[in-house]
Subunit: 138 residues, 2 copies
């Protein structure tokens, strides 16, 4: 992502050229905001639910236990603006809107699956550790 | 994790025996709470900061830009109760408390690193996608 020095003096770098890579430990790095969206309570589950399927809003809402209409809409909007989710609105009556992952969304989704699968598979070990911790503090 | 049926009638299953594996899509599954801790705003950064190092509270606070004392303490307590973080208090004056990852914590930490690294490395692509999205909506 290095620019030609002559070009660099001619025009200011675009926003994307300012970041060779993010730094999550830095308070003002925009990667923090992306992490927030991806790891938000419903962001993780939306990415998981869309990983292999195109889905309508109502399908997503049924799949993700406990999510409200408002929070699902907000989460989809975040992920759409980050370039992870594609929203396609078909011009029919009644309106038919479909959500899917972009190539970028599939990449981040794979990493989220890695974490989510680990938690699901290891839940018995975690619950056992929680119980051991509770026993010690009693 | 299947129990002997005769034993099962003799005593109720322990909490950890109730879960062969978690289901993040189920509203009441305890895996949801674990996911919340691990992917909380500061949980991710605590796991990253401890992945290869034992650190004192003040070191963690300096490393993680923007975290308050209260939120760091809360996050460490969550992760300690889930069995991911080990807190060792040395009986000296002044008090000396060290935090590190347990073997379970290192496993989940590896998955979190997979996600965090991807976001840091791909931030330029994400920022470019955000700009494209902003251009379309203008």
């Amino acid at each position: 992502m290095k620019r030609d020095p002559k070009q660099a003096t001619a025009s200011p770098p675009t926003l994307s050229e300012q970041f060779d890579r993010g730094d999550l430990f830095a308070e003002r790095c925009p990667s923090r905001e992306v992490l927030k969206h991806v790891t938000s309570r419903w962001g993780v589950l939306v990415l998981l639910a869309l990983l292999n399927d195109t889905r309508r809003f109502s399908e997503l809402r049924r799949r993700i236990g406990g999510v409200s209409e408002k929070m699902l809409a907000q989460t989809l909007q975040w992920l759409e603006r980050d370039g992870f989710v594609l929203r396609v609105s078909h011009p029919v009556v009644p309106p038919h809107v479909e959500y899917s992952l972009t190539p970028l969304g599939k990449e981040v989704g794979q990493r989220v699956v890695g974490l989510a699968d680990w938690i699901e598979l290891n839940l018995p070990r975690i619950v056992a550790a929680q119980q051991a911790c509770a026993d010690v503090s009693e």
